[in-house]
């Protein structure tokens, strides 16, 4: 008898706890899911915020989802399957793997749910369009500016790459390589992955500092790695000799530039990319033609123009 009472009591507690969920509200125009790559980078949170502000402006209901294991394409496919079952009006997805996401997209095609890709391309299946940064081009511009302006066209550099296999990593590395090749007096000492993570960036940089006594610049394919690298360089008291470049334009990077620790970054506007993606899906649902590629520019940011970005953070 006691066991039964306990059982019921426990179930009631769980029930009550689960009751306080934010389910689906009624009477919005369209329901969409927005799937990003992971929870561990503020970049994705800014994307989801951008998506939500689009939702508010366009009267949509958007559920933001991220895989528990970072960059896990299997979980993303499961989320797409769930969205198809729930008969969502559209799916916006940032593919963790440009080819690996294709089965999910094809399932959505069969299930009649339109798919919009954001930030990272997909290589297969039918989708509305792509909205994001021209990664290769933007990385090229930022790297070139870094070398010209901060290294005077010569020196020893280290490149920190992103998550292996991700299209963004591949594109940005390609852009960085294209830039470094234009400067014969630039020597690339090492090019290693730090998986787009701040912690990894710090760890890898610590080891590289041990290995190379003479480094002039560190080019990081994203801000998180750059910020981690800066911590390591600072702890080794070599920050005045080594200059660091990042990419993304996240809040901490902007602050770091204004403090003179980070030299330059490429300001992706993840919130803008997300907004454009949602807009593209919306336009499609409303029957308008949507361009195949929506490129959201990423201008380089350094101390000279950091002020306006700072203002945007304060708000």
């Amino acid at each position: 008898m006691g066991k039964k009472v306990l059982f019921v009591a426990l179930m009631l507690c769980v029930f009550v706890g689960l009751w306080n969920h934010d389910g689906w509200a009624a009477a919005k125009q369209y329901r969409m899911v927005f799937i990003v790559k992971s929870m561990d980078n503020p970049f994705w949170n800014m994307m989801l915020e951008g998506a939500q502000s689009a939702a508010k402006d366009l009267n949509l209901e958007i559920k933001g989802l991220a895989p528990i294991k970072p960059n896990n394409v299997e979980e993303q496919i499961r989320m797409m399957e769930d969205a198809i079952t729930q008969k969502m009006d559209a799916i916006v997805v940032v593919p963790a793997d440009s080819k690996g996401i294709v089965p999910g997209i094809e399932k959505a095609n069969r299930g009649g749910v339109p798919v919009m890709t954001s930030n990272t391309r997909a290589f297969g299946g039918q989708f509305i369009s792509f909205a994001g940064a021209p990664n290769e081009e933007a990385a090229y511009i930022v790297t070139k500016k870094f070398i010209q302006q901060f290294l005077n066209g010569k020196g020893n550099v280290i490149i920190l790459e992103g998550v292996p296999g991700a299209q963004t990593s591949i594109d940005r590395k390609a852009g960085t390589d294209r830039a470094t090749k234009e400067f014969p007096n630039i020597k690339v000492l090492a090019s290693q992955t730090a998986k787009f993570s701040r912690v990894e960036g710090m760890r890898v940089m610590e080891n590289l500092l041990q290995r190379f006594p003479a480094i002039d610049g560190v080019i990081c394919n994203n801000d998180e790695m750059a910020l981690g690298a800066i911590e390591a360089i600072d702890a080794a008291k070599r920050l005045k000799d080594i200059k660091v470049a990042g990419f993304d334009g996240n809040n901490d990077a902007i602050k770091s530039i204004s403090e003179g620790r980070l030299m330059v970054t490429g300001a992706q506007r993840p919130d803008a990319q997300a907004y454009w993606s949602v807009l593209g899906a919306y336009m499609y649902l409303e029957g308008y033609p949507v361009p195949t590629d929506i490129y959201v520019p990423c201008p380089p940011v350094d101390k000279s123009n950091v002020a306006e970005y700072l203002k945007r953070i304060k708000k």
Partner: protein, 310 residues
């Protein structure tokens, strides 16, 4: 009649937990009970079920295998590389499974002959598999041109997704193996009392090796289905499955002590874990809240389980 009774007796308490959760989610979130969603649930649980079947055998034998997740990724990579180089679906599947058998043999020998504790042997193997997977294609995924292999993960047979067929078939095979063969009886006995089994004249070493080989084979099959689902061989896609498999077994009533539990329980353990993610998703919980909810529900479930077992 008596067969049904035996079957019912074998049904562990976890069924009630599962039923309770189904009712809970159905009440709170009606779309949960739709046919489409339940089908989705089973589909998403199929990979986990296949690998958990193997884990059940291992735990019944009072051992543990931490390397199955990385073995899954490795099998997927191997199959993908064969397909990418132009090999046929048959050879991809064959070699994928061979990897599982071979690794099972190796680990089994480490545990049975060299008396490595299974925790450590499989912990080391985990790193080795992960390393091989990562190194074989510089950390990137391997893709292949459209092939019959894609059917394994994305195809449908009589309106039912193919992974479900694979999982169901393997469930039946392992059921027979466990409850109708001497191998199965010995597995239970191994967990309960290894020394007694040895004294009864059974080759305990061979039994352990066979268990690991079976589990390895199941893990690699799970890895193949997974690779087909994501249309690529990914070097780290399987990481984490080992813990989910162990949790499925434990929730299903297979204790670490060995000798108790079974695959019926594991089936429901898998369903419960999959159901949690699915149901919470449906309810609009964002991922962080899902984390917490899973933790709480796991604890509640296990508490109830252990109360009922005493």
């Amino acid at each position: 009649m008596s067969d049904v009774k035996v079957l019912l007796k074998r049904c562990p308490n976890v069924i009630f937990l599962f039923a309770g959760l189904v009712v809970l989610f159905a009440v709170i979130c009606p779309p949960f009970l739709s046919l489409g969603n339940l089908a989705n649930l089973v589909l998403q649980g199929s990979v986990l079920l296949i690998v958990s079947l193997g884990m059940t055998l291992i735990m019944l034998g009072n051992m543990i295998d931490l390397s199955v997740g990385c073995l899954m990724s490795l099998s997927g990579m191997v199959a993908a590389m064969i397909l990418a180089k132009g090999g046929g679906t048959f050879s991809a599947i064959l070699f994928g499974i061979l990897i599982g058998l071979a690794s099972g043999l190796f680990v089994g020998l480490l545990v049975a002959k060299l008396h490595f504790p299974s925790f450590i042997a499989t912990f080391g193997m985990m790193g080795i598999f992960e390393g091989i997977s990562l190194f074989s294609n510089e950390g990137s995924s391997v893709y292949w041109p459209k092939s019959a292999f894609n059917f394994v993960g994305s195809g449908m047979l009589f309106q039912v997704p193919f992974p479900i067929w694979v999982a169901a078939a393997l469930f039946i095979v392992v059921y027979v193996l466990l409850y109708r063969t001497p191998f199965g009886a010995n597995t239970y006995a191994l967990g309960g009392h290894e020394e007694g089994l040895r004294l009864a004249g059974v080759n305990v070493r061979r039994q352990k090796v066979l268990i690991f080989m079976t589990s390895g084979m199941l893990a690699s099959m799970a890895g193949l289905v997974l690779a087909s689902r994501i249309a690529s061989g990914h070097p780290t896609v399987g990481i984490g499955y080992e813990f989910e498999a162990i949790a499925s077994c434990v929730i299903g009533g297979t204790t670490f002590f060995g000798g108790r539990g079974g695959i019926m329980g594991t089936l429901f353990g898998v369903l419960i874990i999959t159901l949690l993610r699915n149901g919470l998703n449906l309810m609009g919980y964002s991922t962080p809240y899902q984390y917490c909810a899973i933790g709480i529900i796991l604890v509640v479930g296990i508490t109830l389980n252990s109360i009922y077992q005493r």
